[in-house]
Symmetry: C2
Subunit: 231 residues, 2 copies
Amino acid sequence: MAKTVGIIGGLGPESTVDYYRRILLECRRRTGLANNPDINIVSVDIVKALAHVSSREYDKLEAMLLSSAARLNAAGSDFAAIASNTPHVVFDGIARHSPIPFVSIVESTCSFVKRRAYERPLLTGTLFTMREGFYREAAERYGIDLIVPSQEDMLTIHDVIFPELEEGIVVPEKKARFVEMVGRYVRERGVDCVILGCTELPLMIGEGDVTVPVVNTSEIHVNAIVDRMLA
Amino acid sequence: MAKTVGIIGGLGPESTVDYYRRILLECRRRTGLANNPDINIVSVDIVKALAHVSSREYDKLEAMLLSSAARLNAAGSDFAAIASNTPHVVFDGIARHSPIPFVSIVESTCSFVKRRAYERPLLTGTLFTMREGFYREAAERYGIDLIVPSQEDMLTIHDVIFPELEEGIVVPEKKARFVEMVGRYVRERGVDCVILGCTELPLMIGEGDVTVPVVNTSEIHVNAIVDRMLA
């Protein structure tokens, strides 16, 4: 019998839908059609969460996520995950204080990059994810030489995500800008893969859109979640 | 501040995604972009639920849904809803024993049909929804002359839903068969609207596909849910 995962969702909603569908599909792929594990989702307000992030009131973000963790625990979740990269800025506090264990998208991603023997991944994501140190610190622990975009490119990437892609809408001009920028980091900085460190980016960028492999953080996170569900 | 709804989902998963998206969109439509209410979802095993339905072990179905209701209550839901028509066969038991109130898709639909002054709706849905009396009994209370398909047409409609549409896949030949059948009931039985009494049917049939208005039960249910959230 599969363990029940609890998902903190809504950050954003389209990413939550992606996780929900992927978890069910991956469970079926591994164990057969007749297995539809229980899944709990607590969907919270992305506007409130991002306001805490952009004002760097991380204690408020942490309190919001810990309250969701308590609700997921009460609903019978064996463990939990946050279906978004950005809130992982407070992951350590969540892991320490939550009543149930959490699977981190950052740890899952670094472990994947290491297994694939990529050496110089380019980090992309929201401004907060690129600016804060949580991906860099995890990469260091794994001995990965993470390339963080310049201040100017951070703003370009952030603008690729908001507001359209957050709503699931791909704007071709923004996609072209993203692809061009990645190409520049491949030529000038020798990056050998791109971490799509925002769960909405895979809605826009797939394998083949750029000249190096793409690291799909939501897909990797879902695989780690399903590993734990079926362990 | 909006009330928190708890959704019993997974029956099937695509309908759950549809409810989740619609609830968020409808809240935004009514109150503005900056409002993303908390939503709880407990997704359960459709294979197990349908097995209880087809063997008519309704006590087991009720126990399964009441356990989900308890989990939604524990997660802080103010009220709940089942994102599917078929399980409403045990709605009375759920409403009586659940710790939180439930919004019924059947009541919401009959109330809508009455407000629109439709007089002879055709009921479509899974075999179970058409065969069991729960839509007919509610319609009687509202003074609506509900037309239930013949045994043969029930099997045709059921076959339109399973297995592809349950997975979100529209098969054009099955859609054509559904449209042809509705046309026959319009000509021969004078039906003046079609109740899409399965939350996956609107993925296939929209306004204009048939010559009479379609009654989208998930849309109506979501509206009733959002009414309650914002009340």
